[in-house]
């Protein structure tokens, strides 16, 4: 039992922070009219590849670094802190799909390419109505001359335009199954959406009889397994963002003067910030626990992941809202970065369902496995 980060985690976090504070640059997004097109994915991606981040949790057997989910959480926290824009979320999601549902050959081939930074992925699971449950899909797969082809459309696919291959959940006759398609296939259409969080590329993807390679080990457990990991990624991003935004808010409250004193000397501001400090502590604790539990395969892993995501995304929203309030009108302008965090927070609380949906999952897990109530 040890409830603190060890020195290696702290070093990894500090190095990532130093790197990103040098490399991640939000200024191009702070120009009125900026969209995700200005986010600079490619340059950032290449730098991340140099650090090996795409393969951070890819098992060593497949050419990755084989590090722990706690290590990943350290890195994702810093990415959340800096809002560094790169197709890492999509690549992680796609790689997990391959790891969980791919054949041994697919894993060898694809995960190695991911780890080497030569393959960027995206995972397409969401229906037009926003549902992502691993069973329903607006995409259909049929076999034609012994080959699979898929047709249909996915909403809200992260990093699809930047991807080389897209992992898509499609309905076959009797179940949902994951397939790989080439982003460059002429029958694949990717529309980059006007997503409010312009530090993330979110797309709609259409398939019109696209050749698809099945991930042969897909089963009912595939999506929940991936989803729990994506919860961790989002929650770690959110917790990192919370820390940064809280620090910025506190700093501003110490500097900005009104009525002859720093606004941070007014109880109204102080007490709001104290509450945010509480959210920060809890969000981080939840992320660490989820990362540990997922890494250990602990029986509480799914519970921990849903807890972390529901709490962190709700807390992130509160913190970024309050941040704008403390900054006042200036914090509401496009030229300040406050809104980028606010929009990231807001969309992190929607991308994989809202906090209430994860809370419902928590309760369902407890109903199903009452032992978790005394674990």
């Amino acid at each position: 039992m040890d409830f603190s980060l060890n020195e290696e985690h702290e070093a990894l976090r500090d190095n990532a922070r130093a790197f990103l504070s040098k490399e991640a640059e939000l200024s191009k997004l702070l120009v009125p009219g900026a969209t995700v097109a200005q986010a600079g994915y490619d340059g950032m991606w290449n730098k991340m590849v140099e650090l090996g981040w795409p393969g951070i949790v890819v098992p060593e057997a497949y050419g990755g670094l084989g590090m722990t989910y706690l290590d990943l959480a350290m890195v994702m926290g810093e990415i959340g802190r800096s809002l560094a824009a790169a197709p890492l979320f999509g690549t992680l999601a796609g790689a997990w799909a391959v790891e969980k549902a791919g054949s041994e050959d697919q894993k060898k081939l694809l995960l190695g390419e991911v780890a080497a930074g030569r393959l960027r992925l995206a995972l397409a699971v969401t229906c037009a109505n926003g549902t992502a449950d691993g069973a329903h899909s607006d995409v259909k797969a049929v076999q034609r001359d012994g080959r699979w082809v898929v047709s249909g459309r996915n909403a809200f696919v992260v990093d699809a335009d930047a991807a080389d291959k897209i992992v898509v959940l499609a309905r076959t006759k009797d179940k949902g199954q994951f397939f790989l398609v080439d982003r460059g296939d002429r029958n694949v259409t990717v529309d980059v959406l006007e997503w409010r969080d312009i530090t993330r590329q979110v797309c709609a993807v259409s398939y019109n009889n696209v050749s698809a390679e099945p991930l042969s080990q897909s089963d009912d457990d595939t999506w929940p397994w991936i989803r729990d990991r994506l919860y961790l990624v989002l929650a770690a991003e959110s917790a990192g963002g919370i820390q940064k935004v809280l620090a910025d808010t506190v700093e501003y409250a110490k500097e900005r003067v009104a009525f002859g004193k720093p606004i941070g000397a007014f109880q109204a501001i102080k007490h709001q910030l104290a509450e945010l400090a509480g959210l920060d502590q809890c969000a981080t604790a939840g992320v660490h626990f989820a990362a540990w539990a997922l890494g250990e395969g602990d029986k509480r892993a799914s519970l921990a992941a849903a807890m972390a995501q529901s709490y962190a995304s709700a807390a992130y929203r509160d913190v970024t809202y309050r941040n704008i309030q403390v900054f006042g009108a200036i914090g509401f302008t496009w030229e300040m970065k406050n809104h980028l965090y606010y929009k990231r927070a807001r969309s992190n609380a929607e991308l994989l369902g809202a906090p209430r949906h994860q809370r419902d999952q928590v309760v369902r897990l407890l109903e199903k496995t009452p032992e978790l109530l005394s674990a």
Binding site: R196, A258, I324, Q325, A329, I330, R346
Partner: protein, 400 residues
């Protein structure tokens, strides 16, 4: 006590309607001449109208399918114009009010400054008397519509040796005067700019543009802000404008989202709150038009209405799930109606954080309610009693 609004057969309503039948597409100038723009003002500007008559006229303007002149020129018609009746000269009234009420000249407020924020009295723009003119230098910010206005209502410091809230004066300036530079500010919605920065460099303003006396500025501006807050107490999504909980409820029912138990409870709560705000705002309207000056109720109303509006647009957004994160004006169907600037939930949602900032932050409003309504001890501003040019030099202390 009678919560009925004037009925369809009210003879006053029939008279107004008759005029609209005779003048089916009136210009704003015609409306102004008829006294329908500010019916509660005295003649010749208005009709000295009672609450009912004002309400009837507003409803009949809406019924005639006309965007209310207030929507176009709110600062002149609601916030500031009335000051000329109290503080202006006869010449000022004759010169400024007719084109303002006819919407031929739009007005903007030039109040806030970067150094000010909630501490508006800390403003640094100076107006130096020079013969029969004033020379104005400084910078203003958060000036709604300044890029589209002909007239600016400006507050500047005429006496830097007086304490911060004295020594201020109000001017009506032409926005096209040499030395006035307007720069729009894009806000986080990314929509067309609503706010501006205004830079004032050696702007020469004739002394007859001074409103009231030198040193009256703080009082005049506070009156105008109270009036503005009062206007913001209506239960709309942003500052009293835009869709209300009624429209939200209508959209949720129409889309079937109301059947989600969590949305249902939250929407029910917001609906109730919105209706109660509507009642408060009607009561305030009565008070004000009955001649009671805009008082502390405006602070309570805005304190309640701003977060109410934020919660409204937040629920509208959340009811969309991930789809709500895409820029899209069609979040939930809105019943067809004239909503003014905030005519869709998407804009209202992303604009919402400003609702508790503009025209007094939520903290300033709570202070005002606590002090003026409940009589709790006032916050002491240690810089308030010093001459302004000395107070600026006081090193801020860590705490009170």
């Amino acid at each position: 006590m009678d919560f009925n609004l004037p009925g369809e057969d009210d003879p006053r309503r029939l008279a107004v309607r008759k005029w609209f039948e005779a003048n089916p597409s009136p210009s704003y100038a015609q409306l102004a001449k008829q006294g329908y723009v500010v019916p509660h003002w005295p003649e010749p500007w208005g009709l000295g109208a009672e609450p009912e008559l004002q309400l009837i006229i507003d409803q009949e303007i809406e019924r005639a399918g006309i965007v209310h002149p207030m929507t176009f020129n709110v600062i002149a018609i609601n916030q500031c114009g009335q000051s000329l009746l109290t503080h202006g000269t006869k010449d000022q009234r004759q010169k400024f009010l007719p084109p303002a009420l006819a919407c031929e000249e739009r007005w903007c407020m030039l109040f806030s400054e970067p150094s000010g924020g909630s501490d508006l009295g800390n403003l640094r723009t100076t107006a130096r008397r020079d013969g029969d003119h004033y020379i104005i230098n400084g910078q203003k910010i958060w000036n709604s519509m300044a890029n589209k206005s002909q007239i600016g209502v400006l507050i500047a410091r005429t006496d830097p040796e007086a304490p911060k809230h004295r020594g201020l004066s109000v001017f009506l300036i032409d926005m096209k005067t040499l030395g006035v530079l307007v720069r729009p500010i894009v806000d986080m919605t990314g929509e067309e700019p609503e706010y501006n920065e205004v830079f004032l460099t050696d702007v020469k303003v004739s002394a007859d543009r001074l409103l009231g006396k030198e040193g009256d500025g703080w009082r005049i501006v506070m009156e105008q802000l109270q009036t503005e807050r009062m206007h913001m107490t209506k239960p709309g999504a942003v500052w009293g404008g835009g869709p209300t909980a009624r429209e939200l409820m209508s959209g949720l029912i129409q889309t079937g989202k109301i059947n989600d138990p969590l949305i249902r409870d939250e929407a029910g709560k917001l609906f109730v709150e919105g209706e109660l705000l509507r009642l408060l705002s009607l009561r305030n309207l009565s008070n004000r038009i009955n001649g009671k000056p805009a008082g502390a109720e405006g602070n309570i109303g805005k304190m309640l209405a701003s977060p109410h509006g934020q919660n409204l647009s937040d629920l509208a957004k959340r009811s969309q799930g991930a789809a709500g994160m895409v820029r899209d004006r069609s979040v939930l169907p809105l019943p067809p109606k004239e909503y003014g600037l905030f005519d869709n939930w998407d804009y209202a949602y992303w604009f919402a954080p400003a609702a508790t900032l503009g025209v007094g932050t939520q903290e300033i409003l709570k202070n005002a309610v606590a002090e003026r309504v409940l009589g709790l001890p006032r916050e002491l501003d240690p810089t308030a009693s010093l001459p302004f040019n000395q107070a600026k030099l006081v090193k801020p202390k860590g705490a009170n």
